[in-house]
Subunit: 245 residues, 2 copies
DNA sequence: TCTTATTGCTTCATTATGAAGCAATGATAG
DNA sequence: CTATCATTGCTTCATAATGAAGCAATAAGA
């Protein structure tokens, strides 16, 4: 196993980025009925996948770094992005780079800032960057083998998302402009991991008063055509700000 | 204005700690009817107060660093400690150290990990460390002038606490072993910043089933003597774990 | 002993939630 | 063209949670 590009870029990082600090992004996208995460596979790195991540430049705000990294490594752009936790244990990368020289950037001790992002699955086309061999959506309930503690980081991000969905409207960033009530319910169920009662879900969402009902339906599927909605951005923001967001 | 000790310790830090990374702790304590924060005042640093903070040693886990810093700089020990946010904007310290040499540790660009702590006010005796002139509890609604973005960090921590109190039992770490129902209500009101209905609060707390009613009362105050309670630690933990904690 | 503020706990009206169901509808099969 | 079917929009009913108010008990002090 060899990661030449990684080693090369390692040297560059020493000069331009803050040492001992990295960012990992958990990018959630919703497709049909499943919640997905955007993952990368390094060249020649066996079967281990990683989260899109990178380093903070010396004169770069943390949020800007997260945006840049995500754009460079996955093509995702203009998205909802937030920190959710910090991972600062020792030996987080233990074992993964032991064959390499001690001056390899990645072998160092790292404090990692975890960002999670919510994106419209349809509008993101995964981009394979120079150091990667693959970049794709993976369903949250069928994650592949992952490097270091990256699986744990994803679970932590998902737990954050699940907590937020309890008392905050969610969906604006995860759904396309127009969507149906069953699609919104599928999103909630995919995030929560369990089924919701249809009528009660309908009632609860309607009471939020964050949906704008469009005068059209989504025909083409079998059975009754569902009504299309879009988010009423003003009320959506109002609902969030009443909760202190 | 001079901060000799700070400059001295700055040199030591370069050798032992992770560069560009710091920790600030927002320590909440509850006294009578008010929520307080533990603050320090640097020697000779005019009237500006700071949060107890410090740096992460090269071979030290982040949580351990936070514990150590808090112990060293304020005497607080064995407490509930959690990250709540990361502050990584540029120029956070702009203007505060401009008179000093550029190689002053503090003048550098810093990413700060925010920790919040919940402690029993009575059991913490503020300790004034070598680089401080003062260390004391300050009520949350009467904060003094503070250095850099430290006031913002406190507000951010308080917002986190307020969010958590909505759907999580809180109080175990902020109250003494034995307490009364009005005291618990006062704590909630101090955190939330507004009054709660007495009967409804009583009913809600009782339904949580996290209190152990003791067979004694707190006599001595005027009027009817309130019953003493302690937390039923088992049920308290169960209530938390049902919420995924 | 009387007054007072405080406390423990309940009652009643209102609102939210869980479970179930009914009518409408668009596609499909016959 | 019509019957069937799963799905959808939305409502109903029972139960639980919440907001507002109040009653009786009580410890301290007048």
């Amino acid at each position: 196993m060899q990661i030449k590009e990684v080693i090369e870029s390692s040297k560059r990082h020493w000069e331009t980025a803050l040492p001992h600090l990295s960012i990992d992004c958990v990018v959630f996208g919703f497709d049909q009925k499943r919640l997905n995460v955007l993952l990368l596979k390094l060249k020649d790195n066996a079967n281990n996948w990683i989260l899109p991540g990178g380093y903070v430049l010396k004169e770069e705000a943390l949020d800007d770094a997260a945006k840049r990294i995500l754009k460079e490594r996955s093509g995702a752009d203009k998205i909802f992005l937030n920190t959710f936790n910090v991972f600062g244990n020792l030996n987080r990368s233990e074992g993964y780079f032991k064959e390499y020289d001690d001056d390899l950037w990645h072998k160092q001790r790292f404090v990692t800032i975890g960002y999670y992002a919510l994106v419209d699955h349809q509008s993101v086309t995964p981009v394979i960057d120079a150091s990667s061999e693959d970049c794709r959506w993976m369903p949250i309930d069928e994650l592949p083998e992952m490097v270091m503690d990256h699986k744990n980081i994803i679970e932590n991000a998902l737990a954050t998302l699940r907590e937020q969905i309890r008392y905050k409207p969610i969906g604006y960033n995860l759904l396309p402009e127009e969507f149906t009530m069953p699609e919104l319910q599928n999103l909630y169920e995919a995030i929560l991991g369990y089924k919701l009662n249809r009528g009660n879900f309908y009632r609860r969402i309607m009471r939020y008063n964050i949906l704008k009902r469009l005068d059209k339906e989504r025909k083409g599927g079998a059975h009754k055509a569902p009504i299309l909605y879009s988010f009423d951005k003003e009320n959506y923001q109002k609902a969030l700000s009443e909760l202190g967001w």
